[in-house]
Symmetry: D2
Subunit: 379 residues, 4 copies
Amino acid sequence: MPMESKVIVVRAERAPMAGVVDPGPHQIYRQPTVTIERRSLGALHPDEMRVEMICAGVCGSDTHVVQTNPETGYIRSSAPLRIPAAGRVIGHEGVGRVLAIGERVRHVKPGAYVTFESIIVCHYCDACRRGRFNQCRRARLLGLQKDGLFGTVVDVPSLLSHDVTALAGSEQGLRAAACLEPAGVAYVACQNTCVSGGDRLVIFGAGPIGLFAAMLSKMVFGAAEVHVVEPVPFRREFARRWSDRTYDVEEFFAAPPRAIDVVLEASGEMSNVSRVFRRLNANGRVALLARSGAALALDAVDHMITNQILLVGSRGHLGGAFASLLSLYGNGRFPLDAVVTGAVEGLEGLRDALRSPEQIVHEHCKLLARLPDAGPAER
Amino acid sequence: MPMESKVIVVRAERAPMAGVVDPGPHQIYRQPTVTIERRSLGALHPDEMRVEMICAGVCGSDTHVVQTNPETGYIRSSAPLRIPAAGRVIGHEGVGRVLAIGERVRHVKPGAYVTFESIIVCHYCDACRRGRFNQCRRARLLGLQKDGLFGTVVDVPSLLSHDVTALAGSEQGLRAAACLEPAGVAYVACQNTCVSGGDRLVIFGAGPIGLFAAMLSKMVFGAAEVHVVEPVPFRREFARRWSDRTYDVEEFFAAPPRAIDVVLEASGEMSNVSRVFRRLNANGRVALLARSGAALALDAVDHMITNQILLVGSRGHLGGAFASLLSLYGNGRFPLDAVVTGAVEGLEGLRDALRSPEQIVHEHCKLLARLPDAGPAER
Amino acid sequence: MPMESKVIVVRAERAPMAGVVDPGPHQIYRQPTVTIERRSLGALHPDEMRVEMICAGVCGSDTHVVQTNPETGYIRSSAPLRIPAAGRVIGHEGVGRVLAIGERVRHVKPGAYVTFESIIVCHYCDACRRGRFNQCRRARLLGLQKDGLFGTVVDVPSLLSHDVTALAGSEQGLRAAACLEPAGVAYVACQNTCVSGGDRLVIFGAGPIGLFAAMLSKMVFGAAEVHVVEPVPFRREFARRWSDRTYDVEEFFAAPPRAIDVVLEASGEMSNVSRVFRRLNANGRVALLARSGAALALDAVDHMITNQILLVGSRGHLGGAFASLLSLYGNGRFPLDAVVTGAVEGLEGLRDALRSPEQIVHEHCKLLARLPDAGPAER
Amino acid sequence: MPMESKVIVVRAERAPMAGVVDPGPHQIYRQPTVTIERRSLGALHPDEMRVEMICAGVCGSDTHVVQTNPETGYIRSSAPLRIPAAGRVIGHEGVGRVLAIGERVRHVKPGAYVTFESIIVCHYCDACRRGRFNQCRRARLLGLQKDGLFGTVVDVPSLLSHDVTALAGSEQGLRAAACLEPAGVAYVACQNTCVSGGDRLVIFGAGPIGLFAAMLSKMVFGAAEVHVVEPVPFRREFARRWSDRTYDVEEFFAAPPRAIDVVLEASGEMSNVSRVFRRLNANGRVALLARSGAALALDAVDHMITNQILLVGSRGHLGGAFASLLSLYGNGRFPLDAVVTGAVEGLEGLRDALRSPEQIVHEHCKLLARLPDAGPAER
């Protein structure tokens, strides 16, 4: 079933930084561009499904691919990313309807509405076999290492899918389904820091993941208090509803809450962690979520030892979070759509938004795109 | 500081059942009586505090001490219990104000309002040293193995206390503080069964512990659905507010929910567990909370093996539950007082209630007693 | 690449027991036969590998398929099993050399020596996504629900494979590799009961899994004492080397060790659990491993509650045990081959052994078959 | 029962470093001296026991109290420490015989041989109530914040004691008992990093704790490989027996083992952690054990996030390690005495050794002192 699709493609100049032994994407790619292009879809891979996209979400890692560091000229993203010569179709959050399935697909039916995990795992390495999928040794990231979801029709490995047909009857349900992936990232971070009954949390960064973490920590993991630190006024204000208190960065450090049990760092600003460390309670836990390429200085090592404080990296959304969140949403226990602050129309709207990435950060928490009518391709 | 107190005393005839090798209390004590008596308090023990009681809660194990089995004539309680010749002051839930402290007490101040743990642990056995206080090898239960809280002024080991002065300014706060102990039992049961995000629970028994478990599982542990099974109409109706659905026993088994993740057995009726077992999901968990002296028959052993189902006994409230609950209540996240359905006045009211134990079960969830003015003693 | 293979096939009469609503295999199949047959292997499935078997292990579940219950006439196996009209190729333990791989196989190379997991999981159900592969909702068991390993050349899903080329240079290494699957079952049982430093264990049943559990609990999980209970003299004697003490059943109950921390039930005799239960320590743990179709009676429920004793079903070997065991064996830390008590030659030897299943139990712990030269097929 | 005792006393000049807001001991005390003094023991505290010391162990934290930083002149110890005007009796490892018990002591009998925990906990703070004794909010360290064990007769809180009468019949048993405390520290570090079957460890520092960690990780926690990095030749050589490989620091970094699962930092040299971090496997774990007052620089933050690497402080020996170790030693499963490299005679020998602290580090792993005959006091 060959088909035409229109997709959002990122292209960039490949110019590895001189003298860096093992450069990351933020040391390889320069001058990113975002265009809408027409693609012809060939035969469907036996293990994939062909999906007509209905709704897509914009993640910070999408905007980091098209933002550049003013000092170096390289893109901001330090996440695993490969931009081939033909460009990369980005996007890894969204909902669509299954048009067709590959011959070996068993668990998905055409006509079903699905959302997606965004980490393609190997099921064979030691991490996978231990059920630690988020650390798969051969993981490929959808929209970064394999073409993603920003298109009218896309092909996706069927094992990534979760059936959300029950949610597809309403605009709210579609928005909820499109937000499952970032909510899952926040869920895993709460698990990795063992958030539990009565805890006091501080969250740095009120983007979608920070905000979901604020909501989940109280509504699902039993935290008693959540303090959110966010420099951008719009996001800080938006976070108020789900927090006990919100702060600008310096405002926070002028008077942090006492005896913090858990810190979730979702801002990429490592100095926040250095500065808050001495305020951690006995058996305190800190998760780092945001890859920024920056280093971390810990001068409170003795405090860390005496109090058995734990610091852990956290990435991914696999391991059961999607099913737990769907169960909670389905029972009216967690408002998955509450982080959405706006929606653009079609691939054009999405392309235009990606061409002004700063605006997304300053005027939105989660921005969605409604995709049914994508208009003409540009090349 | 010698003082007079009035207390509620249970006396019983000691007549061990013939032919039982190692009889439990329900095979030793007959013809229990409940009276109010005057006691003279001597010198305060160096490690104890003298407390003027303000409010006390009636637990099922209090009523089981004064109820008898119609077939055998022995009391119903199978919990550890020793009734000395001078009678036993029962009661292990409540709030009071500290009048004085023993010379070695450091962490409590006269004037403070306190509530109490009810398990006196040794801090020395292997279980204590591993932090598994609920299984202390030398545990003594307040109000069962040591004189308890049903009195105007009582002496209590200071390490049992939790400061609740912040809650003492309101009637609601006092009720909340008085309910901390049974809430803690439910909290430990949720921990022992690893209740977590999205779980579907079935709870047998909507007494205070079952009801707290229903509330906690959703509000603190992230459960998505809670089904409550309770034969007594008043309690079943009262549980509706905190459950997704309530059932009579046969009504439940006519149509149990599918794929149950967690069962909490707080009714003492073991056949409920036998009957529900095959409905447990993979990695399902079952906690037994209610000592009844009865045996359990499991005929779904193959199902248990294939699905790695876990069955665990659960007792006690120690290990951090009080602090977690106080943090949650203090932040408006958990209504500790919501299980209270009524209050009697003074020791007389409490004595009269204990003389009609069936009525408590059929007309109340948690019954409190307000204690400031206890009136004249009877002997 | 069409090929000829010779395989061991079990056939049986399909005669479901009257009046049983949902019969297990032990209520469906009668009159099992074991023969060697010639099979023509067709085109290789894209996700499978074609393996020349070198060595195979005989498991209790293999013998249970060909043993019958003298009272009912049905086979003993209550594990998931489907015997099609063309018979079932049994066997799920062994080592082979990869002859060819399907077109979609990436992680295995022809020429490699491999051993196998025996549970084919779906990677899609909730249990799989949570990493609880042993409870996959759509699991198919190799050699029971899909044709297995008892043949000269067999086709196996490539994701089941573990590379053991490093072990293939010696007879001892091949034996070790062939024993990875039952060792993994014992490993998972030790994990499920949280065997840890200083524990005292009792193991019922000194077949390969019970014996591996005895070895692993001390050599890998830190147990201090292991007591093994086994009625068959040969196995009891063989277990002595890896145990602190071995017992016949009644000998054990005449004087069980005090304060047992962990019980592993690998004998299928549920009364052992009923009888030992009161001897369990605080926070004691019991795993049931052996499906027998029998029920379990627990009359020590109050003891279970007071002491927070845990009872859990345990099945499977997935979740990382293979990799852990290979690392331990490779560093000389665990003698995977130590349970082997003998080897028969070829498919004929294996067939003959399977025709005398009682003899395997009474004269062996783990019996292997060396497979390179299988001789002529019988039909 | 007033008695005379001779004890080893450390005195120091109290001269807080100018301009440091909250100075640690290493910024307060200068010019430490070590002398033997005569003390008159008064009435025995009701909760303590009077113990005749038989054997004592020298810990790094003992030598750090009497060593000075050549640049600043202050003592090296950054652990909690208070040296009163009358000096501090140091020492927190050892074995003795109970001479008498306070009136409230229940669990210890005169005549018993005991060893000691060295953290006096409050049993009342939130950490204690959660069973996290090593993080007690009001912990006092024996020999640092309260007079310790280096004496002929000492008074010790009875709850610290563990009965080792079963070990006291042999010199080897006494040595084993004297080593329980440092072994417990290593045990807790293995727990905090979840050392498990098949892991590959790197341990920095082959003092008693590092060496015990090497032994425990393999013999009790199931590690497959242990690599030990130690700059001091004597200790490095001594560690060979219990390691797969030993290294000098630069030798190690020239070729660290691949895919490290666990790093235990017991050397106080933070740069080791910075340098080894990128070699950590997915789900790798790092524990920091040695307080040095130094800061830690982590530049592999992205690696930490992608691989969910965990870094945790670890201190203390409480929580069950003593009982587990005693059970293991008693069953011949762990040679607690194997770290002992020598013993000095009496308090004089001990005093002389403490006056040459560098020598202890360069010529010993664990140095003991035999104490029955302490000779005359000096003041």
